[in-house]
Symmetry: D2
Subunit: 343 residues, 4 copies
């Protein structure tokens, strides 16, 4: 049975999206004979009817290319005036019978809203933060960890001077997946994640002890969402400049000031920022994107919607969208414990 | 309680072993206060009493280094004259109370034999083939897939000439994990794995059709253990030279002859060989090694032995050694199906 | 003055060609206002009039992509029946006023033939062998060295077993540039290059001595064009199989047999082959391609033809095509000496 | 003739230093029979008599490792109280007959001071800035360019959103080598280098025009030492916070504010910082280090001192230290021109 399937990628760029798009097109058009109608720039393109027909030609040689050939945007129909109506209008105008959306929290939330309006949706999870509930891995995470680890490796070779502390800030607003994994892989002395609010007094004490005992340097990997524990006080505050968004009282800058002032160690910050989202996807992200893409189009072919593709161990499964909403997958204690144990 | 823990790495080299060694030493000595006694060159070193004491100094900066600082060897005590006795003698002489062995099929088999002799053993699975039963991943696999995918990527850019067929032979004697994953990630047209014996007639037909229709090249990723299906005949045989081990009637060379003779296409073989086992471990392999190392020493600290550390989804678990013996973890059909679907 | 400029890439693929194409188009069309007319598949496309117009759209995002967007072929007009006439006919039909050809020995030779027929030509040197006379570097070499070194690095970590000899065969038919540089960079024990025919007796003696003294392994990097010195005999010959082209009595296989038989060491061969030509170009190759492309179109704009762009130290210069013909740039003795000195 | 040779690495870490150390030891001790006496932490170790004897064991497996096994420090004897006396005292106490120093501007300056005191010195240039006069390349530059280009590549895939400007700040205080080369290799729209002071009005105009015309994003690579041209005014100033060193009115932050305020485009900064100094050295840096190391020890063996090893085209030459002092090697206009031409 031939189906007209819509496809969009929402939220921030991550490597591996093109693998998912390619898989949907190859399996959907090539094997099942469906029509795959892409929408440019995520939900915005769907709202605006910005169509990009997808066929063999569009997906040529895209596997090793980061980003998304469909473009993306941080736009959510349910929180934009007339957004939902516009989306439904486009779906009707284009006679879309089922919709595949690739995205993170925001996109998945939008997906459940659109699903409630009666549209058959299959979601594919992507986020370098890896905090989508219900799946072991989301597209983009493995590449981000690889980039972050490479950075920690590089800083390792340059940090080995006298009494230097290097702080590496990685992404992770609600969960410390990148921090914990790149911290373990790169051999960081400390990993600070949102899951375990930190006590700055203990950190300063640890660093003083370590540097007195034997070490000449320490590397701290900190997730952007790391926070001080309640009842523990940072003694120094970063004064915001006029263009406060620049330093934003970011956790890494605050830590830097605190550590530098209290230990006297040469303390430096590297914020990885956007480079974590870019570059050639790792094999793991390409495979995950490919498997998710095939699973999504196969689900639609079977008439199964309202679900998200997910990795569980070695298997690809489908999880009801309703189960995912509002949950954050945090780093298991065992993994955080390994990060601390190997300091 | 202080324990004298022996540690060895057996079988072929893989990246990520040093992460495991480091984790055992850091957690074992640094936190639990155990003594970690390494043995050089796998079981052979244990049989010969070749001891390498392990402490903070030995594991410095080893995380990004491939291979194993302990050395390894393909020696199995139970299949060597006097091997078991020598092993038991060393264990007694060194007053080893528990033994951690990192290895693949052969090492795990040896481990179960030594465990039967009353020695408390915890095994850590490593093999680039990823075919150890009971764990989602073994140390070394992710790095091997990364290297193989990189090779397929590179061949992609050079294969785009007229009517060329490139055969890439990867490791995988009993299971096609590397072939399936690097085939998907690299966008190969065909993946041949031991799990699904192939029909050369269909392959030739597929290639002829593909090249007539639109394509100018094809890439075939073949596991070294791939075999023709029963009842399907290869028409051409590779004549063995005097130094037959060179071409060894390897499956890739046989395929090359068959395809070249029957299609007339320029057909070439690249055998990745040893480079799949080398180089800097990926973050995934370093993290896996670190988690397995911590889990192994923690198990010993709790007095739990006769088990293998294993990854299941996001979790590290322990699997009884007895359950693993003689089983091969093959590639799930879904994954092989994705490989074929995206051709 | 507006010029209609033809552009083709001939010979084997190398990474960095797209940078040169992009530079010709950006500088030529964007700044000088010329028309850039590409020909597909090298000289063959020029002979057959296979035109690919080049503008901003065609060169988007091609910098990090290996291969050539124009395609290539190993076809030379002067050695093909009617080839020269066909080339001249196309040039006239397309009103090409000047021609930029990117290629190695064969293409440069063809270029001088076409130039003799009165066509204004600027050549850009590319070859992973780096043996084009008159320029410090040719496009593709740096990427090939990077890939070869990475392979030697990887083999290093796996070679450290007892009495193993690993032979890595790299490209270089007439000059040992890749062998010498990847041998130095990878820390190989021996480098065999065409420039210095080897004495197998000395090699065997060196290996025996080295392994007796202290080492457990040795890595030999051999250029495909390496040869035994006159008067020195290989004792063992590789028997050719029916499909002799497979093993082809390749120098690495012959070495393997000789070393294995005479030393008893476990000796293995890895032939890097096509992967040396593929993948993302290094920055050096992208910059070289970009500078050469700009220099070529600038020369044409100034009316200067019959030349090849060349790198000399930090500078880009133009060398008369006539000076290059028939010469091979060999590896300087100092570089080969460094390779041997650091064994 | 046996010589006692001192060896130190000064200034900031760069990848490739270990290759130079290894070459000095292998060639010096292994072939010439000299004694190589290392000093830890650069000039400081020489002043303090912090000796590290160097032999086969110390240089094992160091080729692919970044940093320097000797350690380094930013200490200069001639500008420290009693520094010169302490250095001369150590040289006498250790009976050092000749000294090899690996370093950048500061170290080379110190070297000429120590040479004036009658010590036979051979210098080896290293600096990721590549601004040492007299040599085409310094150790560390190629790796830094590779890392910077990789970052620009990654940002490329994430920058392709609506009206975004990405500023990437790279090292280069007095010369824009990294900026120019990574800008060309990564396809940046603008490259700002110290050699050509910029006019912010023109930049804003260029960006406005570009984004109106067709583009949705722009990448600017800026050297840390880039400055506005005289007579051109930045309209907005970055207010310094209490911890002014954090934002330091860095050129990239100032540009960000200026561009964001005047164009309204979403403008973001990535400061690569220390990661440019780290990681595995590229083959080019390993080869350069190896050749320089061999050339330095060979010069000493011949009794030639007061010189610096240098790369000129394909050749290694020696340049008198006196010729280098106080000069900065800037980026040639042609290279900067290519960077702008390909925007």
């Amino acid at each position: 049975m031939h189906v007209r399937v819509g496809l969009l990628t929402g939220g921030g760029d991550v490597p591996g999206l093109n693998a998912a798009i390619r898989a949907v097109v190859k399996r959907g058009e090539g094997e099942h004979g469906h029509s795959i109608i892409g929408f440019r720039n995520g939900w915005r393109g769907l709202a605006e009817g910005d169509v990009m027909p997808l066929g063999r030609q569009q997906i040529r040689n895209v596997l090793p290319i980061g980003g998304t050939l469909l473009g993306t945007a941080r736009y959510h129909p349910h929180s934009s005036d007339g957004g939902m109506d516009a989306v439904l209008a486009t779906l009707e105008a284009e006679r879309i019978e089922a919709l595949i959306v690739v995205g993170g929290d925001g996109t998945l939330h939008a997906a459940s809203k659109v699903a409630e309006a009666g549209i058959g949706i299959v979601a594919i999870p992507k986020t370098i933060d890896n905090d989508v509930w219900g799946t072991d891995r989301s597209i983009g995470f493995d590449t981000a960890v690889t980039i972050a680890t490479e950075a920690v490796d590089r800083i390792h070779t340059t940090a080995e001077s006298h009494n230097r502390v290097m702080i590496v800030e990685v992404m992770g607003r609600h969960a410390g997946w990148i921090a914990a994994t790149s911290g373990i892989a790169g051999g960081a002395e400390l990993v600070l994640a949102p899951e375990q609010p930190f006590d700055i007094d203990k950190i300063v004490k640890f660093l003083r002890h370590r540097h007195r005992a034997h070490a000449s340097f320490s590397i701290i990997v900190v997730a952007e969402g790391a926070v001080p524990a309640e009842g523990t006080a940072m003694q120094y505050e970063t004064q915001l400049g006029r263009f406060g968004e620049i330093i934003a009282g970011s956790i890494s800058e605050r830590l830097k000031v605190e550590i530098a002032e209290r230990t006297g160690f040469d303390t430096r910050v590297t914020v990885l920022g956007h480079i974590q989202r870019g570059g050639t996807p790792t094999p793991t992200d390409r495979i995950l994107g490919s498997r998710f893409g095939v699973a999504a189009i196969d689900a639609i072919t079977r008439g199964e919607t309202g679900v998200m593709t997910a990795l569980r161990g070695d298997d690809i499964v489908l999880v009801p969208l309703a189960e995912i909403a509002g949950k954050v997958k945090q780093v298991p204690t065992e993994l955080l414990d390994v990060a601390q144990a190997l300091a």
